[in-house]
């Protein structure tokens, strides 16, 4: 088992998975929160954009989003995503960043919908009291509603992050050598030890996702708003 892990650089591949997950998670949380803000905004154009975006990206297969991102941005528009074109790793870095972008575009819709359901758990009286004190819409959202909404959706957000971790495997489709990319190679060349190969990857993902669930489960209990 360990010879396999070493031979195929499994640890490096999982490290890439972790990095993809990490950056996409942070960006999805930010973009998802902004989208949720748009979806509850009093400005009709913002609400329309938020709704359109979520329905479009949430209902498109992730593979399609990633491949489209890659083809449109990289091949057609020649976007470099701030990667250094002289660098030897230019394409690896570019693909990595495009994968983060695609994962974010997709995952943010789930973050948005989680947060929106969280917003619905905040009694309207909270926002009314804040408005009655003279806070602006943005302040009401940022200071009163979102902090309470977040606290009630830590659990669902953990599920979104776990799904994201597993979804990083789709990045193979645009040539990022994360865990699933290596898995494919190993299935091909180590077919006699296929069970071991599967075991390695199943374990790998459990090790990555289990702490997310456990830690955020504790956090959810701790930050829950008492009413």
């Amino acid at each position: 088992m360990f010879d396999l892990i070493e031979k195929y650089n499994v640890l490096d591949a999982f490290w890439l998975t972790i990095k993809l997950t990490f950056y996409a998670a942070i960006l999805s949380l930010i973009w998802g929160t902004i989208l949720a803000g748009m979806r509850v905004s009093p400005v009709p154009a913002m609400r329309a954009f938020g709704t359109l975006y979520v329905n479009l990206f949430r209902n498109t297969p992730l593979t399609l989003i990633l491949v489209a991102t890659s083809i449109v941005l990289k091949n057609t528009l020649g976007v470099t995503m701030f990667a250094d074109e002289q660098s030897q790793d230019f394409f690896a870095i570019l693909d990595f960043r495009l994968a983060i972008l695609g994962l974010t575009a997709y995952t943010a819709t789930f973050v948005c919908e989680s947060i929106r359901s969280g917003i619905n758990t905040v009694p309207v009286g909270q926002a009314e009291a804040a408005r009655a004190l003279g806070l602006s819409f943005a302040q009401v959202l940022r200071i009163i509603v979102l902090p309470q909404a977040f606290r009630s959706v830590v659990g669902p957000l953990a599920s979104v992050l776990i799904a994201l971790t597993k979804n990083t495997t789709v990045a193979t489709a645009i040539g990022v050598a994360e865990a699933a990319g290596i898995l494919r190679a190993m299935i091909e060349f180590e077919s006699d030890r296929i069970m071991v190969v599967f075991l390695i990857f199943a374990l790998g993902f459990v090790i990555l996702t289990l702490p997310t669930g456990l830690i955020l489960g504790q956090v959810a209990k701790k930050v829950a708003v008492k009413r």
Partner: protein, 251 residues
Amino acid sequence: MTAATPAPPMIRMEGVDKFFGDLHVLKDINIEVPAGQVVVVLGPSGSGKSTLCRAINRLEPINQGVIEVDGKPLPAEGKALAGLRADVGMVFQQFNLFAHKTIADNVALAPVKVRKMNKGEARQHAMGLLERVGITDQAEKYPAQLSGGQQQRAAIARALAMKPKVMLFDEPTSALDPEMVQEVLDVMTNLAKEGMTMLVVTHEMGFARRAANRVVFMSDGEIVEDSTPDVFFTAPKSDRAKDFLGKILTH
């Protein structure tokens, strides 16, 4: 001295109509509340008392008519409206304290975020107000840890922190256990004595008799009577008011 133009009323509503769909909840409301006056609004459930109260700071937009606060018409949404709301304190039946903030932070929040007061000053001011409503020892607790009466007093302190020109109360004691009603009414009575302009929707007849300068009786979205507490309680003119008083006094 030049002939001073009389100070504008603190609240003025003229020809105000409000509909919820087909339901006509405010019907041609005309009322003026001069500075320093305490007006109690009475009326049966569903008569439009809350809606009247909420229309004054535009938590409910109206369909027709004019509402002015301190001589200025209510602005539409946006910065100007937020500015007006900052000057109009509101106390809700359900307290609506910010559940994720301590009591002291609840009180200090709006002065910092809206009035741009510095944090230390806001905090000091907040502690002074908590003392005034008698809950200094609860300052570091969260709302859910307080009794209803304490929460409502904190909510009053939170509204006062903005140094409002007028205070609106929508049934401030209706969600309280009976033994906690008086502590909240005491705070309100003190406020009235200090000269705060107040519009109070309540079912507390004792408070209406003692603290109000004026009683407004609403029924089916209309202002049916507008008189002093004495006149209203001893000699109501309309049948609707007599009926209403008959029901609550037998309780």
